[in-house]
């Protein structure tokens, strides 16, 4: 599905350029532990997380994550938004919790990322 589909399903606010919504998302992983994101094979994935800190953006870049969803209405700070823009990683913010956000996307056909 496209990032636009993800944004619609999660009724999310988008912090990104309009073009970014056309990117294709093939799978997703939900995690608050950054080492889990780094451990599992997540290139081209969507990351669903409750953590809003700059090193989440850097972890995403290093792991090859395409886009990040912040759950539970967490609003990322200006420093994070600036870093995400610089690294060209679109951000979505949803009011749903991690479980519900993951479930909605899974039900819509987005599989989990390949583990190990």
């Amino acid at each position: 599905m496209t990032l636009k589909d993800v944004a619609e399903i999660l009724e999310a606010d988008v912090i990104a350029d309009a073009d970014d919504l056309n990117i294709t998302i093939k799978n997703a992983c939900s995690a608050d532990m950054m080492s889990a994101v780094l451990y599992y094979h997540t290139p081209d994935s969507l990351l669903i997380t409750g953590l809003t800190q700059p090193h989440v953006i850097r972890t995403a870049e290093i792991a090859g994550i395409k886009s990040i969803v912040f759950v539970l209405d967490k609003k990322p700070g200006d420093d994070i938004i600036a870093l995400a823009r610089q690294k060209k990683i679109p951000i979505l913010c949803t009011r749903f919790c991690m479980y519900t956000a993951s479930g909605k996307l899974y039900a819509a056909g987005l599989p989990g990322c390949l583990f190990k």
Partner: protein, 141 residues
Amino acid sequence: MDETIEGSFQIIGGNFANAGEASMQLKSKLVELGIDEAIIRRAAIATFEAEMNVIIYAAAGRLQYYITPHEVTIKIDDMGPGIENIELAMQEGYSTAPDWVREMGWGAGMGLPNMKKNSDEFKIDSVVGEGTTVKMIIHFS
């Protein structure tokens, strides 16, 4: 390239705001050299985990890298508490990270296993009360 390309980067303990900068520098260098994307990702992940351990556990440390046409050697050494039982520390899920570190998303006990998994050669040396050195080599083919 026929010479060795070297670089180094200081890492300051507790500096979470800049976490990842050392690894990003190595990553950019490898991108610049046109190294295969999957290999760059392995190098960046392994370096990032090592960098995080310096930030979490040590007072200060340093990343040094050496890139030849065939491989990248990554060395991260720190001035810190050292590791008493390396075998235990290498186990998946073992972590002494305090709660506040866990709340920031680190301390899953997967860092050292992840470094080992992503490198072709992995060596860790540690002296309690002095510090820790991790050396990793990743081949380009």
